[in-house]
């Protein structure tokens, strides 16, 4: 299956030991994350910290919890935007929302919500489609610190300018400034948008299902996992969806490589939108 013969070098050994140390000391398990990603982030922190090698860094993070917290932040990627990939949101608005409309109550799960930009985008979309008051949105992340930021719903005005462009491209029907008020260099999102959102700590690696979802959104989260863990999480999503529920992945993530692929219909290959079989 593999055309090539890759060798593990000393840094791979040290990376493995670092991951084991984190598991033993702090209980976070990164052993099924993408090893290439974890190694790259560890080496990035190594350069910043001025330490000599990964073993020294491992020793430091065992001894110094604050240092470990920095490493933890390196591992959890929080690059996100409001209405990121505007055409995806436009597609949801035009093709999926009308179907969700037929349900009396709609559960939506943003898995790996990071600092919340995408969750609030969804809240705006649902509001404009007149659906918001029938929705319950669960926004989860494994990183407590980032959830606090998501709850605040405060973003820089500079970022908001970009988001405004996205919002228009995503087919927004109002003025984006209706949804925030500016204070100093920040935009504070309208409290109304939070009304139906529950933010919670949830770890996709270790935690289970917690409800019957009509729509699960998990974009650019699973890319940081290896294929085994991706499979397990996709299974979790399958089990958490109602029959006929929808799963959205990032535009370069595919269910094709997953064991649960045959349990879904592909609704849009371009937007990686899948629907759990109605007779599952």
């Amino acid at each position: 299956m593999n055309d090539f013969d890759f060798k593990h070098n000393n840094e791979d050994v040290e990376t493995f030991l670092c991951i084991e140390a984190i598991k033993l000391k702090y209980g976070y398990n990164f052993s099924e994350y993408s090893r290439a990603h974890i190694k790259r982030r560890i080496k990035g922190r190594l350069v910043k910290s001025g330490l000599n090698n990964i073993l020294e860094l491992t020793h430091r993070l065992i001894e110094d919890e604050a240092f470990f917290r920095d490493v933890l932040l390196d591992f959890s990627i929080n690059v996100t935007e409001m209405f990121r990939d505007p055409s995806f949101f436009k597609y949801l608005r035009e093709n999926i929302i009308p179907i969700l409309q037929s349900y009396p109550k709609i559960n939506i799960w943003h898995a790996g919500c990071s600092s919340g930009e995408e969750v609030y985008s969804m809240a705006i979309l649902l509001k404009e489609c007149g659906l918001y008051d029938r929705c319950q949105i669960y926004a989860t992340d494994f990183n407590q610190k980032i959830i606090e930021k998501a709850k605040d719903g405060i973003y820089s005005l500079e970022a908001i300018r970009e988001y405004t462009k996205n919002y228009i491209l995503a087919g927004g029907t109002r003025s984006f400034s209706d949804y925030y008020f500016a204070k100093y260099d920040n935009a504070i999102l309208d409290l109304e948008l939070k009304k139906r959102i529950t933010f919670a700590e949830h770890n996709l690696v270790t935690d289970g299902s917690f409800g019957e979802m009509h729509l699960i959104i998990c974009r650019n989260v699973l890319i940081y996992f290896n294929r085994t863990l991706q499979n397990r999480v996709n299974r979790l999503f399958l089990d958490s969806l109602i029959k006929g529920g929808y799963l959205c992945l990032g535009s370069k993530e595919s269910l094709v490589y997953s064991d649960v692929f045959e349990k879904f219909d592909t609704v849009s290959e371009e937007f990686k939108l899948y629907r759990k079989h109605l007779k599952a």
Binding site: M1, N2, D3, F4, F6, K7, H8, N9, E11, D12, S34, R35, A36, H37, K39, R40, R41, I77, V79, N220, L222, I223, Y224, N226, R227, Q230, G250, S251, K252, E253, S254, Y257
Partner: protein
């Protein structure tokens, strides 16, 4: 075959340069080819179509956990960094830009140095920034073969110039000759084995 992979980085003017390189290259069926070409983040993935017209090989835009294979061309998608795992799968990430770029040539070249090492050929073409120089250096240090386009033949000089200074590549080659020189490098590496 000594070489398993040809990794090509390009920026401004890169698509035209790529066309010349691939047109003369005869050993595409024996290596995997990875192309990291800077694109606007919002651009639709049109590069796959363009490259398909340049070479008679399967051309894929990389998806997360796709398996790398010989005789195949893989293209970095806009707005993702590309890493390679030691089981031969690609991992995509959306971590911070490097050298103002995502995909960044440095990021993928570093990963190639780590996985393929001496069986990699790293090539840097035209461009108006400093991406790729650091990664090329790592490929060279890992024992791979490194080539930079002669800046005098580049639409934009900065990227090859920076790489020449920073990475001290094995060869600096004019655009018209890169493809045929690449064939010779691969043939002679096979003979010396």
């Amino acid at each position: 075959m000594k070489y398993d992979i040809l990794a090509i980085g390009g920026s401004a003017g890169g698509i035209n340069a790529l066309k010349k390189v691939l047109h003369n290259f005869r050993y595409a069926s024996e290596v995997a080819i990875i192309i990291i070409q800077h694109l606007s983040p919002s651009s639709k993935s049109y590069l796959r179509t363009i490259v398909s017209g340049m070479i008679h090989m399967n051309v894929y835009e990389i998806e997360d956990k796709m398996q790398i294979k010989r005789g195949t061309v893989f293209i970095a998608p806009p707005n993702y960094h590309v890493l390679i795992e030691k089981d031969g799968m690609f991992t995509l990430t959306v971590t911070e830009k490097v050298c103002f770029a995502r995909p960044s040539i440095d990021v993928t070249f570093e990963s190639i140095a780590d996985t393929f090492g001496e069986s990699a050929i790293g090539m840097l073409l035209t461009g108006a920034n400093q991406d790729g120089g650091q990664g090329l250096k790592l490929i060279r240090e890992a024992g791979g073969y490194t080539i930079v386009q002669n800046p005098n033949t580049a639409e934009a000089r900065e990227m090859p110039e920076y790489a020449i200074k920073h990475a001290d590549p094995n060869e600096i080659i004019g655009l018209e000759e890169i493809g045929s020189r690449l064939n010779q490098i691969i043939i002679s590496a096979g003979e010396n084995r």
